[in-house]
């Protein structure tokens, strides 16, 4: 296995790192505190191409390989996971769905606007009663001439308010199994009958908006259905490999940030006449974090490389996501411990890192769901 990054990959990584450090770091704490997106910084990200990463060049994107994409996500998430989530959902889920499942007209119409960041993509699968089990969704889409009428409520939608384009899953045929009865629709923000519901008061990722979406006789052109009627759940599942690798990269970035903060703090903080980094108890925590971070990196980078070589990398993606997300919370916890009381207050970045880390074990499949997927693959189920 070749682990050397190409010149392009190194330059993408370096550019993302410099951008995150110089532009996002100064605003990360304030955006979290005030619960707003860094609008100017995201505009700059759009101009640089962060929202066209996986969209093919012919549709105005850049079309990078999965490992390059992971490297970029990792850097953003080291500094500002709230922006990382938006970037990941936009690229891995919404853009990929249209690039892979959309017809030519849909690609021409939407991909360039997604690539330029004019439209930020949001992914609407979950519902109040359908989380880990999205097949039990209730939002319905009923044909009405050349339109579908959508009714129902989606919940936990990242970029629900700030997004411009929603990828919405709804039941088109209740009489068949969900695997054949759910369809995917592209829904533009200002579609009549669509309203943005409550914005969640979250523990972390507070700079990003997570909202409900309420559909009341929302008229969506039939031309906006992605793929064939009834193929929605299959599409949703096929997006998971890429999505989970994206969240794994987010978790990796968060874990690295926690280690960085902990290392700096341990060197600077003195107790009993020595920097606390002189004490073995602290050193061992740092050593464990660093070692596990490298292990996570290898799992993620390998899943990314293999994703470009085969159709599905379900097991590898789930393993990477499971390990990296659990590691992110473990590292955040240890790093906070190393900060002592100072880790429990907002003066230090670790307080935010600790809150941001937690979500990675929940969305795009909880840790329990990942274990079910991995076990299923092992047992041939």
């Amino acid at each position: 296995m070749n682990l050397t990054l190409s010149e392009e990959q190194q330059m993408l990584q370096q550019t993302a790192r410099e951008f995150a450090d110089e532009k996002l770091r100064p605003v990360a704490a304030e955006c979290d505190e005030q619960q707003h997106l860094p609008i100017a910084q995201m505009k700059a990200m759009a101009e640089l191409g962060f929202f066209g990463l996986i969209i093919p060049e012919e549709y105005g994107g850049i079309g990078v390989d999965t490992l390059s994409y992971v490297l970029v996500l990792e850097e953003i998430n080291k500094v500002m996971p709230a922006v990382g989530t938006i970037t990941s959902v936009h690229n891995s889920l919404v853009s990929t769905a249209i690039a892979r499942g959309g017809n030519e007209a849909q690609k021409r119409k939407y991909l360039p606007r997604l690539a330029s960041g004019e439209l930020i993509g949001a992914y609407a699968l979950s519902e109040p009663h359908a989380g880990s089990d999205p097949a039990s969704m209730r939002t319905a889409a009923v044909a009405d001439g050349t339109y579908f009428l959508l009714n129902g409520t989606k919940s936990w939608i990242s970029s629900g308010k700030s997004g411009g384009l929603y990828l919405v899953f709804a039941v088109t045929d209740k009489s068949v199994k969900p695997s054949r009865g759910i369809s995917a629709f592209i829904v533009e923000k200002d579609t009549p009958g669509l309203s943005v519901g409550r914005k969640e008061e979250k523990m972390g990722l507070r700079a990003s908006d997570t909202t409900q979406l309420i559909f009341t006789d929302c008229r969506v052109p039939a031309a906006n259905m992605i793929g064939e009627e009834g193929s929605g759940l299959k599409l949703a599942l096929s997006l998971l490999d890429g999505g989970r690798i994206g969240i794994a990269a987010q978790a990796l970035g968060i874990a690295e940030a926690a280690l960085d903060e902990a290392t700096c703090y341990a060197i600077a903080r003195e107790q009993f006449g020595h920097p606390i980094s002189d004490y073995q108890a602290i050193q061992f925590m740092l050593a464990d974090m660093a070692t596990e971070i490298e292990a996570a990196r290898m799992l993620i980078y390998r899943a990314a490389v293999e994703k470009d070589q085969r159709e599905r990398v379900t097991k590898e993606a789930s393993m990477a996501k499971l390990y990296a997300s659990e590691l992110a919370t473990r590292c955040a916890d240890k790093a906070l411990q190393i900060h002592g009381g100072y880790g429990y207050v907002k003066e230090y970045a670790i307080e935010r890192i600790y809150r941001d880390a937690r979500i990675t074990r929940i969305y795009e499949g909880t840790s329990e769901i990942q274990r079910m997927v991995i076990a299923g693959q092992l047992l041939g189920k």
Binding site: E7, E8, M11, L12, T15, E18, F19, E47, L48, G49, F50, G52, L53, I62, G63, V64, V72
Partner: protein, 258 residues
Amino acid sequence: MNIVVCMKETPDTTAEKRFTADLRLDRAAVAGVINPYDEYGIEEAIAQKEKLGGELTLLCMGPARAEESIRKAMAMGVDKAVLISDPALEGSDLIATARVLAAALQKLTFDIVIFGQASTDSNAGMIVTAVAELLGLPALTWASKLTIEGGKATIKRSHETGYDVVEAPLPCVVSVTQVINEPRYPSLKGIMQAKRKELTSYKLADLGIDASSVGSAGAGSKVEAANRVTLTRTPEIFKDADRAALYIADYLEKRKLI
């Protein structure tokens, strides 16, 4: 409007400088970066090209590994590049470097040549005027603003008491300072396209320059010693807080700073 921007690869500014046995900067020991001052030149050249159209060529004299920095400039928006690389060039002094750059510029078509104000490794800031002199072109130096219009270039040159407006007909040579712009990040798309852009390599022979007239052999200056500069400051501590403002004003006035 055809623009040439000159770039040098310099050792990473954050790394400690090291010297070779013959007292030249050890460039192999640390990573190379785009000379930080040249980033402003590159940004200015790209911005002018975006405004005026035409083609933007980067010119660099340096070792083969400078390609990495050249590709970064391409990712920022430079169209193509010429790298003059020849073992005989090692140890070239300022005049030799200017001669090589001038010879290369004569093979290129341009309306304006843009330089950064100096390089962070040797910090002489004289290549610009030397090149202009060799080409018989006007030089506009230390620009904090550049306007290209009506067949001439106009710059603002800031100084202690204000600024001068200086102009010259095209073609001409310009150097820019750090206040002129904010260099952009390479775009992600630019990064992916950089490898596909044209990079031409010249050897000394391509420029018709005799190897003995450049490099250490042809250098008119010789480095005899390299010493670490140690700054010694004598702090004055003034304890009478009530009269601090007065004291500071007096201190500055004596040195004609206010």
